[in-house]
């Protein structure tokens, strides 16, 4: 290790330390640390895998809701139409009003 200090005692100790902390010692230190990191990464991957599955479920729930809402709406529209057919008020007035507006817009369009 190069040093800015010109103190011979420091230089001598630096050299002695360098020989003690040789490549083999340092590689051993590094590989032990890497083994620790590797074990921890593997352990955290377990949590990641579970999270990925939950994230998929969340996405599926998100994508299914509009589909269900659409089918509910269709069922209510059908109930409204049946009501109209037998001369009764719609089951859902608000939806019926919206449907009428849509029909009207479609006719005009």
């Amino acid at each position: 290790m190069a040093t800015a200090t010109s103190n011979p005692a420091v230089q001598q100790n630096a050299k002695a330390l360098q020989s003690k902390l040789n490549k083999t010692v340092l590689e051993k230190l590094n590989s032990a640390g890497q083994a620790l990191t590797h074990a921890q990464t593997k352990e955290s991957q377990g949590a990641t895998t579970i999270l990925d599955q939950i994230a998929l479920t969340a996405k599926e729930i998100k994508s299914r809701l509009p589909e269900i809402k659409s089918k509910v709406r269709m069922a209510v529209v059908e109930a409204n139409n049946k009501s109209k057919e037998i001369g009764q008020d719609p089951i859902d007035n608000k939806l019926s009003a919206r449907e009428d507006l849509t029909d009207s817009a479609a006719l005009k369009g």
Binding site: A14, N30, Q40, T48
Partner: protein, 243 residues
């Protein structure tokens, strides 16, 4: 290195354990009056430099993993919570609609099969919503478990580094005896303590010691850490340098 913007740092600040880790690995000294501070106050002292310094550490991979996990956790919990209200509203809407149809069938002269298809469809969708709700609740419970496990894991991983570092430093302390260099009590204690990588580099620079060529201050590995820790102790001991 990933750039952690203010939003990411705000997110990190929501997790006390992570804030503690960022402070520990960046060497941030938290003022005692800030301990237990509100989220808003914490943001003020979880800076991008602190996050960057915490991640620039040989044992920072686990912090990256925890951040990644928390990122997915936040995104997922948000998606789930956003579905909760519309799901409940839709359930309520079906319940009300079926109730209106039921009343109509009871009070007025309407043939029973008039709304049969609509009711069947509504019941089918209600059942689908119940299924989604169960899955949503179960996912939320699983997320809570994962979060708790992740926080526990973060503590364990941090502790493992403390143990590993202490063992290696205790072993390395014998090197000083082997080269007949006597560290004073304070220097020895200082050597055995946790030092952040950033602080180690700063100390070496303040001692005007050139770093070995193969040491990349932006990508430190374990050997670089222990090497600098040892040289740092030696230089400080021999030159009377203070940190």
């Amino acid at each position: 290195m990933a750039n952690y913007g203010s939003y990411a740092r705000t997110v990190l600040t929501d997790f006390d354990e992570l804030v503690r880790l960022v402070h520990k690995y960046s060497g941030t000294i938290v003022p005692t009056d800030k301990v237990g501070a509100s989220t808003l106050e914490k943001i003020q002292y979880l800076t991008s430099t602190e996050v960057r310094n915490a991640l620039n550490h040989p044992h920072a991979d686990f912090i990256r993993s925890i951040i990644r996990i928390l990122g997915v956790y936040i995104k997922t919990i948000r998606t789930l919570l956003e579905q909760e209200q519309p799901l409940m509203e839709q359930k309520k809407y079906i319940e009300e609609t079926v109730s209106v149809i039921g009343t109509r069938l009871q009070l007025e002269e309407v043939e029973a099969d008039t709304f049969q298809n609509a009711i069947a469809q509504l019941e089918k969708q209600y059942s689908a919503l119940l299924d989604l709700q169960n899955r949503l609740d179960s996912s939320k419970a699983q997320l809570s478990e994962v979060l708790a496990k992740t926080m526990k894991m973060a503590k364990q991983f941090d502790k493992a580094w403390d143990q590993y570092r202490a063992e290696q430093l205790n072993d390395l302390a014998t090197v000083f005896d082997e080269i007949n260099l006597s560290l004073g009590d304070n220097a020895r204690q200082d050597f055995l303590q946790q030092t952040t990588w950033t602080h180690l580099v700063q100390e070496m620079q303040s001692l005007k010691v050139q770093l070995p060529k193969d040491v990349d201050i932006n990508k430190p590995d374990y050997s670089h850490y222990f090497l600098l820790k040892t040289y740092n102790a030696m230089y400080k001991s021999l030159t009377g340098g203070a940190s």
